[in-house]
């Protein structure tokens, strides 16, 4: 089972999917595309991985363990 975490004012919104569950897969794929269209940045974190293991991803990988969505950055 994979999980997407979208950071927001609730801490993060978590959405899970199961490779054997078409409905959750479709929901996760749609959410990925929606966040990408918003300009958010997705990082795939391997199991037990740290920040240095994070990889920027541009398409939904159902085999991913954890995907964390963050915002683009700007000078403050």
């Amino acid at each position: 089972m994979g999980v997407m975490r979208i950071i927001d004012e609730t801490g993060d919104t978590m959405v899970t999917w199961d490779l054997g569950d078409t409905e959750t897969l479709e929901r996760a794929t749609k959410l990925f595309d929606t966040e990408l269209a918003k300009g958010s940045l997705a990082f795939s974190i391997p199991p037990g991985g740290r920040d240095r293991d994070a990889d920027r991803v541009m398409s939904f990988d159902p085999g991913a363990d954890e995907i964390v969505w963050v915002r683009p950055v700007a000078g403050g």
């Binding site: 801490g11 964390v68 950055v73």
Partner: protein, 202 residues
Amino acid sequence: MPGGGDLSCVAEAGAVSARRPRDDLPQQATPESLFEVVAEHGDGRITLRFTSGALAGRCVTAFTDAQCVQPYEPRLTPREKAEDLLVSLLDSEQRLAWREKKRFRLSTPYGVLELGALHNMAFWPKGPHWDPDRPGQVHLCVVPSGRIDRLPEADIWTNLLLVVRAEPERFFGVANWRAPRSNFWYLPPIPGLKLRSGSVGA
């Protein structure tokens, strides 16, 4: 597969309910209602759709007895959730620093960055991408785009941490900066920092 029966433990929309009766649900909906199985999940859960009664057309997911008696995990506050996510990404040294000082450092291809002071991150540039004749420390201001006042603080650092780790050119390319003893902030580029070209995406 039409069926009917006694659902001892039912969750709707993923929220686990307790075993106690729900007074706010129409009582005629269960157990008299008929339902059909619409999905059988690999972990033993079954999603059902009511075919009659007050809940006709609505779906619920039924858990196994074993899943029902799993220890209750209290809901985390936004701050706690954000803290958990950030800490999960840090190594042991960074975790210790974060817990003690609410700051932690990381090495980047352009030098050492300290995260934890919003709008005022210390940065010690070094390495082949830095002009050694420049001062050895600057302060940077980089934030997640959009409103950040409602974001838990740890989420802000998770955001910046992931971006600077995976795409340091993106991070340093937008950083406003100031000298350590100056109150004047300057727009990028950071003088002396030679960002690798062509590596900053949209």
